[in-house]
């Protein structure tokens, strides 16, 4: 991940890279992120721009998967926005109602945008969480795959 870190000409991080880490932070757990945060050098502080708040996202879908849009129902989502002393603004959005998780996701998003931290955090925080998520996804997939049907045709004895 760190080897291929894309940078824009102005030195800021590429959108796809940030989208990736935001998604990993959202799918991680609150405890996991708190533990990583405590491992960082102490004294890292941020201020709240938008206090952690639980609300709703209306989940949209499409008729027939591809057609007209409709509102399926809502999902609970918690969000938070913080600002580092160095000026980076981070946003955290997580499904569910865990405020600590949203706050930590926002804090990591802010810190990841600081170029002194980006590579380090991608390697030491984002990559291991991503690996864990991938592993559990693969384990599930292997179990599901065992339920795939192998069809075989029975020979009918009508011709003799």
């Amino acid at each position: 991940m760190t080897d291929t870190l894309e940078k824009n000409t102005d030195g800021t991080v590429d959108v796809a890279t940030r989208q990736h880490w935001i998604s990993v932070l959202s799918r991680s757990s609150s405890n996991e992120l708190c533990a990583y945060w405590e491992d960082l050098s102490p004294g890292l502080t941020y201020s709240m721009l938008r206090q952690p708040e639980t609300g709703l996202v209306m989940v949209r879908a499409r008729a027939g998967g591809k057609g007209q849009r409709f509102n399926l129902g809502e999902a609970s989502v918690t969000r938070c926005s913080v600002s580092m002393e160095t000026g980076e603004v981070g946003h955290g959005y997580v499904t569910g109602r865990n405020k600590r998780h949203a706050e930590m996701a926002a804090a990591f998003d802010a810190l990841l945008q600081n170029e002194n931290w980006t590579a380090r955090l991608l390697e030491n925080v984002i990559a291991p969480i991503d690996e864990r998520l991938q592993k559990s996804k693969n384990e599930r997939q292997a179990k599901v795959a065992s339920t795939k049907v192998d069809f075989f045709t029975m020979v009918r004895g009508e011709d003799e």
Binding site: T54, A63, G65, N71, G73, E74, R79, T95, V144
Partner: protein
């Protein structure tokens, strides 16, 4: 005469205390943890999420516990809770073709790309009570397959029938972003209802009601001979585009069950004979609901397809006005609450009618004599 009565506060407070004690049940038995409910009664939680119209497993598990397993009461709690929360945004429409598949089957095509994946299903079980579950039995471990799943699991109807033009296509209007998407949580139901509103209504509609209506189409009321084109259950990404970011972010997975039916269509003055579609989608693992919803969605497309409306299931006023179990239960159950005054006036009325009749009979009798 109208007599206002007041009272019962003490009885009500005590009834709630008794309820709380009964909910807990015998204290010798371990208290049920919400985690146990969400992990071990997952399909019940799915139903509460679908009909409560709120994706939140932990909260729906808690609602089930508080409601003592009464699903409609739990759904009521969830509907009430959601009204206390602000709405942040609308998601980008979920892409069900990119789901992480847990189950995916087609009843119409045997050899579909990606294969038939049975997943965790009750199908093909013998429906025999498993008494080993009464004890702490050893759970058999799921097998794994090295081969894994195909990366590409195309949605069946998108690929297999469309090439020949044999199936109705799902139209997306060009200036989609300028069109509002109907929302029953914001605007009251109005008729005629568009498909967006119908699908939202059915997605949160009562499973039993939608099931019964779906069954009615199979028994011949507005028969449209349906096949299951595909059912899939799995996890789809929830994607939003926060204004402050200016780009889309994937914030987690939600479990969805999707069903698409293929229905025969004789053709009309404007349309050649072809297959038509019904669509069902629900939060969580909710296969019965998704299939039923697809059947009812197809039946409600009668107007658009120029079919005669001959059955209840095609009548959108009937279907959409009665599908919501919170509305239904509110109105049905409210008649148990005190109606003393209403009933007094009814009583008066019946007494007077009887008196009138009696007097009439007497006077007729006297006239006859």
């Amino acid at each position: 005469m109208y007599v206002a009565v007041k009272g019962g506060e003490k009885a009500i407070a005590n009834a709630h205390k008794l309820l709380a004690e009964d909910r807990r049940g015998c204290p010798d038995v371990d208290e049920l943890q919400t985690r146990q409910i969400s992990e071990q009664l997952g399909l019940g939680v799915s139903r509460i999420m679908a009909e409560g119209s709120l994706y939140d497993k932990d909260l729906c598990a808690l609602a089930m516990k508080q409601a003592r397993g009464d699903m409609i009461e739990a759904i009521f709690l969830i509907r009430a809770y959601r009204t206390t929360l602000p709405r942040f945004s609308y998601s980008v429409p979920v892409d069900t073709s990119k789901m992480d598949i847990d189950r995916r089957i087609s009843a119409t095509f045997k050899d579909l790309p990606g294969g038939q994946i049975l997943g965790p299903t009750f199908d093909y079980t013998h429906r025999l009570i498993d008494f080993t579950l009464e004890a702490d039995e050893q759970v058999p471990k799921a097998n794994t397959s090295e081969a894994g799943l195909d990366d590409d699991m195309p949605r069946v109807l998108d690929n297999l029938l469309k090439g020949e033009g044999l199936i109705q296509s799902e139209a997306v209007v060009e200036d989609e972003d300028s069109q509002a998407v109907g929302d029953l949580t914001r605007e009251p139901l109005e008729f005629p209802a568009n498909r967006d509103v119908r699908l939202q209504n059915l997605a949160r509609g009562d499973e039993g009601f939608v099931l019964a209506l779906g069954y009615s189409t199979q028994r011949g009321y507005a028969r449209s001979h349906a096949f299951v084109g595909e059912i899939r259950f799995g996890k789809a990404s929830l994607v939003i585009e926060p204004e402050e970011l200016g780009f889309a972010i994937d914030i987690g997975d939600i479990e969805l069950t999707e069903c698409e039916t293929v229905n025969q269509f004789q053709g009309s003055k404007t349309e050649p004979p072809q297959f038509t579609r019904g669509y069902g989608l629900a939060f969580g693992q909710n296969e019965r609901k998704a299939i039923s919803m697809a059947l009812v969605d197809r039946a409600l497309r009668a107007r658009e397809l120029g079919e005669d409306i001959v059955a209840a299931v095609q009548d959108e006023e009937f279907v959409l006005s009665h599908s919501d179990n919170i509305q239904s239960t509110g109105f049905v159950e409210h008649i148990k609450l005190p109606h003393y005054v209403d009933f007094q006036s009814e009583l008066e009325l019946v007494r007077r009618m009887r008196r009138d009749l009696e007097e009439k009979n007497i006077s007729e009798k006297q006239a006859a004599e």
